[in-house]
Amino acid sequence: MVEQALPIAMIDAVTAAADWVVVLPLVLCLIGAAATLMLRRAGALTFVFSLLILAGVIACEVSLLLRVVDAGPLSMTMGKWLPPFGISFAADVFGAGFALAAAVVTLVVVIYAKGERGAEDGRDGFHAMVLLLLAGVTGSFLTGDLFNLYVWFEVMLIASFGLIVLGGSPSQLDGAVKYGFLNFLATTLFLMALGLLYGLLGTLNMADILRVAPAANPAAMAGVAALLLLAFGMKAAAFPVNAWLPAAYHTPPAAISALFAGLLTKVGVYALLRALVVLLPASRDLLEPVLISVAVLTLLVAPLGAIAETNLRRAIGFLVIGGIGSVLAGIAIPSLAGVSGAGLYVFHAILTMTALYLVAGLIERQTGQFDTRRMGGLYAAGAPVSIAFLVLILATAGVPPFLGFWPKLLLLQAGLAENGWIGGLVTVALVVNAVLTLIAGSRLWAHIFWRSAPAELAPGQLGTGHLLRIAATGALVVLVVAAGLWPNGMFEAVRLGAPDLLDPARYVAAIGLAGGTP
C-alpha cells in the first residue's frame, strides 16, 4: 500500500470521552431541535423534552467551563483530522462562559414562553427553533473555524427568522422583512470576506490564520478586516448599520424578543472581538480610527433612541444597541482591561437584556399596551415587576452594585489608561452613554410605573400562566443581582480568559496545528 507516502493527516491520540463536552452542547441542541420537530404533535411532551435537552446542555457547559478554567482552552477537531484539515472546536473561558449563559437564558425563556403561550403546544415548531437558535449560538461561541462560524451564524439566523414570524401579525411580518434582508445580507458579506480571506491565506482555521496572517498582504488583510467589521457590525447592530434591530425586536412575542436580545447581537459582537482582536490584530490597529468612531457613535446615538421611543420594547432595543457600543469600546481599546470589560459586558448583556425583555413582556401583558404613553399605575399594582424593572434598568445603566457596573468599570479603566484623545473620547462616550441610559430608563420607569394608570386601563391582569412567567423572570433577575453582588467568580474567569484574547498562544496550543505552533 501507499500508506507510507501519505502525509500525516490524522490525530494520533485517543480522544477522552470527557473532551466531548466541547461539542456535545451543540450536538445535543441540534439533535434536540430535530427530535422536538418530530415530536411536535405530541403536546406538552415537546416542552418537557426541550427542558431535558437544555438541562443536558447546561450540564455539559458547566463541566466544560470548569475544565477550561482549570486546565486552559479545550479543543476537539472533528473527524480526527489534524487541524487545520478538520474543523476545530475550541473553548476558552469566554466562549464557554457565554455558551453557558446563553443556555441558561434559553432555559429561562422556554419556561417563560410556556406561560406566555399557554395552551399553544409545540406544533408551530417553537421548541425546535429555540433549540436550533441555541445550537447556532453555541456553535458560534465555540467554533475554531471561520467558515464553520458562518454556518452557525446561518443556523442562528434561520432559527431567528422562524421565531420572529411566529404568530404572523402584520407588524411581525414587516419587522421580519427588514430583519431578514439586512441580516441575510450581513452573512452574505461575511461570506464574501471569507472568500477573500481564503484566497489570501488558503486556510480557514482560526489558529492557522493566526499563524499565516502576519505574512499576508497588509492592505488586503485590512480590507478583509474591514469587511468583517461591517458584517459582524451588522450582526451586532453597531451604528450605523443597526437599523434592523429596532425595526424588528419589538414585533414578536416577548419571550422571543428576549431570546433575541440576549443572544443574537452578542454573538455578532463576540465574533467581532475574536476576528479583530485575536485573529487580525495588525489589521485592527489599522482600522482603529474606524472602530473608535463606530464605538463612540453607537454609544452616543443608541440611548437617544431609547429616550425617543414610546414603544416599550423598541426603546429597550435601543438600550441593547447602546450596550453593543460598550463592547465595541473594548474592541477599540484592546488592552487587558478593555477586552476584559468587553467580555464581561457580553456576559452581563446576555443575562440582563433577556431579563429586561421578559419584564417588558410582563408589563405589556399587565397593561395590555405596547405604548408607554398609555401605560401607568404599575407601581401601585405590584412590587415584583417594578423592582425587577428598576434593577434591570440600573444594571443596564451600569449603576453599582448591579451587574452592568463591573464591565463599565473595566471599560472606563481601559479608557482612562489609554493615552491621548482615543482614551478620552471613549471615556466620555461611555459616561454620556451611562447618563443618557439612566435618563431613558428613569423616564420609562416614571411613565410605566409611577404615573397613574390612564382611565381606560385596568392593570393587574397577568393572564393565565403568569406564575411560570414571573418565576422565570424572577430567577433571571435574581441571577443578575447575585452576579452583581458577588462578581468575584466573573472577575476570576475574566482574569483567566482575557489574556487568551490578547495572546492566543494557549488557544493555538490547545488546537494543536499540524506542523506545530507558530
Binding site: 480522544t15 470521552a17 441540534l30 439533535i31 430535530a34 422536538t36 420537530l37 404533535r41 477537531t77 480526527k80
Partner: protein, 141 residues
C-alpha cells in the same frame, strides 16, 4: 394543471425521479452527487406529484409528515457523528464496515449514513415547502 396527459405520466416520472435520487445520493461519495442533490431531486418529484395530483394527494402518498422526515434526517446525521464517541475519537470520525455479501463487498459507513441524513432533510424540507405553497397557505402543517 389538471390534464389527463400530465396526471397520467406524472407517477411514472415521479417514480423514476425517486429512483434516480437514491442513485445520486448513494453515488455521491465517489461521483458527482450526494445527499443534497439526491434530496433535491426527490423533493422535486414530490413537487411534480403535487402539481399533477394536488397537494393533498401528495401528502397522503407521503404518509409521514415531511418535516418529521427532515427532523429524522438531522437526527441520524447527528447520531452518525456521535458513534465515534465509542471509538475514542472526536465527533464525526468516520467508521467503516465492509460487509461481505456473497462475492461483493458492501461498504457501510457513518459518512454514508450522514449523507442519507442530508438526503432526508433536504427531501423533507423542500417537500414541505413545495406542498405548502401548492395548497394555498399551509393547511395540514
Amino acid at each position: 394543471m389538471n390534464t389527463i396527459i400530465f396526471r397520467t405520466i406524472a407517477p411514472l416520472i415521479v417514480a423514476i425521479m425517486l429512483v434516480f435520487s437514491a442513485y445520486v445520493c448513494l453515488r455521491g461519495h465517489n461521483e458527482p452527487g450526494g445527499g443534497f442533490i439526491g434530496g433535491l431531486i426527490a423533493a422535486s418529484a414530490i413537487a411534480v406529484l403535487g402539481m399533477a395530483s394536488g397537494a393533498q394527494a401528495a401528502r397522503r402518498a407521503l404518509r409521514l409528515d415531511p418535516m418529521a422526515i427532515a427532523g429524522f434526517g438531522v437526527v441520524i446525521a447527528g447520531m452518525s457523528g456521535l458513534l465515534s464517541l465509542f471509538t475514542g475519537s472526536p465527533f464525526m470520525t468516520s467508521i467503516w464496515l465492509h460487509l461481505e455479501l456473497g462475492e461483493t463487498t458492501v461498504p457501510i459507513s457513518t459518512p454514508m449514513v450522514f449523507d442519507i441524513g442530508v438526503y432526508l432533510v433536504v427531501f423533507g424540507t423542500i417537500a414541505t415547502i413545495a406542498l405548502a405553497l401548492e395548497s394555498d397557505g399551509g393547511d395540514g402543517l
